[in-house]
Symmetry: C3
Subunit: 269 residues, 3 copies
Amino acid sequence: MRPNGLVTLLTDFGTADGYVGAMRGAALAAAADVRLVDLTHEIPRHDVRQAAFVLAFAAPAFPLGTTHCVVVDPGVGSGRRALLVAAGGHFFVGPDNGVLWPAVRALGGRTEPQVAVLTLPAGASTTFHGRDVFAPAAARVATGRCDFDGQPQAAGWTEFVMPRPVADGSGRWRGIVLSVDCFGNVITNFDRATFDDEVAPGTFRLRCGPVVTEVLRTCYAEGVADDVFCIWGSGGRLELSVCEGSAADRIRPERRGPWPAVELDFRPC
Amino acid sequence: MRPNGLVTLLTDFGTADGYVGAMRGAALAAAADVRLVDLTHEIPRHDVRQAAFVLAFAAPAFPLGTTHCVVVDPGVGSGRRALLVAAGGHFFVGPDNGVLWPAVRALGGRTEPQVAVLTLPAGASTTFHGRDVFAPAAARVATGRCDFDGQPQAAGWTEFVMPRPVADGSGRWRGIVLSVDCFGNVITNFDRATFDDEVAPGTFRLRCGPVVTEVLRTCYAEGVADDVFCIWGSGGRLELSVCEGSAADRIRPERRGPWPAVELDFRPC
Amino acid sequence: MRPNGLVTLLTDFGTADGYVGAMRGAALAAAADVRLVDLTHEIPRHDVRQAAFVLAFAAPAFPLGTTHCVVVDPGVGSGRRALLVAAGGHFFVGPDNGVLWPAVRALGGRTEPQVAVLTLPAGASTTFHGRDVFAPAAARVATGRCDFDGQPQAAGWTEFVMPRPVADGSGRWRGIVLSVDCFGNVITNFDRATFDDEVAPGTFRLRCGPVVTEVLRTCYAEGVADDVFCIWGSGGRLELSVCEGSAADRIRPERRGPWPAVELDFRPC
């Protein structure tokens, strides 16, 4: 797969400081013809799991040949490596802390990805590899100015695997809350590919903290007031939602602390 | 008018999740040469009126031939239709909930717009038409890959009309607060085209909740400390402002609840 | 230096309203082939110093020939002039309130910049020069449609100089907090070019309000829990940081009021 000139940017830098701007500048300085597209810069700081989740959600929407530049990088300037990965027709640049891997595995399927270690440019700072390492590298990869030929092959990288639901052998599955979006939809790790046939009206009961529901809907507007229901979300995961309301506020009214487990029960009631 | 390759994006998705990123990816996957420009993604969730206001404000600044993709869409996945509209040399793609119409009417003037129903692509999700329907359609429209020839003509669409001030017959007009910006400027529905001649120093008194003013200024820096004044805003509407302060905080100090009516009085004092 | 078609945007408009969208539209209407890149739009309103800081930090990362459009402009519509500046191979467009100058001086070095007054277009509003003056001018400059030939030369502009540390003659320097980023890193005005040799382990003691440290680290991950340390930041300034924590919260736990002075002491302990 040839790179298509597009670089997506995903960071935990926020947008109020000059950091994302400087990354964009460094990418354009490295390859004037690169095209930059933001995924988000509002990953909670150092939250590798949320960054991995967003990348795995959004990257598949991009055309083949896209390069994804991910900088959620508490280890910047330490010995942690910078990686270049190719999988499923997409390219990825980011720190060797696992953040790339849910997307790499989702896009690459059973084919093993190609993985190289990026050489740090001379004069790179020890505090801002987004500007000094990752953005220029991604821009050069995206525009065909850098590829696997020039980089040492990697081994022994850190792989982050998104947790999967666990069965207790008696028809009950125990999952987790993976993410919560700005609409208050609560996204679980029950995936449609595995559970689509089993989650049907009358066959299941889902519990998450104080909320229990046996309702599955196909669109938000079907919900009635205050009704917490299940819905297959656009990322292929079972979500808890409320029509024009927030399932998150129902599950965790005090808005802090860890999310409760998600229990999915298929035993006859 | 031929489309110019530009697509503006306007949603209530926020920027913290991967939703806007996925929309951008889907647009680029549908038409690699599309150029994406954000209006805003911070419309309060499901606030069709605020989205309509922002679209009508910002769209006229764009060159002719621009395609505007609007996704404030509580009815996603239900029977509500997806529309393609052409008016005043601009194109619009969005749900049939009225959100497009203040901009369509402002740009189209007295010429009736062209309106078609977009066919949903096979496999579209029921929860995320921004990614699966609107962004790809807008990208294809903007790059000449989709036009009115291929789509059924629409009738009976939902039209949202921005409320206008009402006269009480004795020289007093009653209007509303349309929007409040991040500087605390309070934007009313008194429009310059109608009221420019009548709103002049010594001729009017404006009341909005606890605030009363007879002052009209031409730029913010003219204001003196704590002075709430009227000013014709850049969208052609009468606004309430405070120099380096917030008119919004003066009108609604408790920062919640509905905005009071805007009363404009031309009776001799 | 020929302009390279890129325009960066830096404002205090926030991203929730339609203002930044309208600026983008006006830029594209003025020059369809301009390429727009955001620095940030979240400068605290009217905070010329923070805007100047972000511009001076981010602009140098961009390729030569880039045009930077800065709109932090409490004087909009008053007599204040609009400037076009060229320095160090970069172009700048913005109000004559000093905001451009730290970047102009950093990039231009000892060479005097070229400075012209932009003519206001007929029909410009008095409240939104971002849309009506600066964005179109920047787009035209960036694409070679406007240059210094067509504009009157400026003199007597307002220059903002970033404050520098002051020595008390006995080995103690007194500096200030220039900015605080979203990670809670506290950025001082001690610059590496001047203080690099002197700030070394065992040679210094830095005090900022309740925090005192003699520790200098080279990357964040070296820090131990709750350890406030100094680090040379990626903008070449001495910063106070905490590994996976916030130095800002340690220095100003109540999160309001002015920042304390930064005292750097080289006297033998």
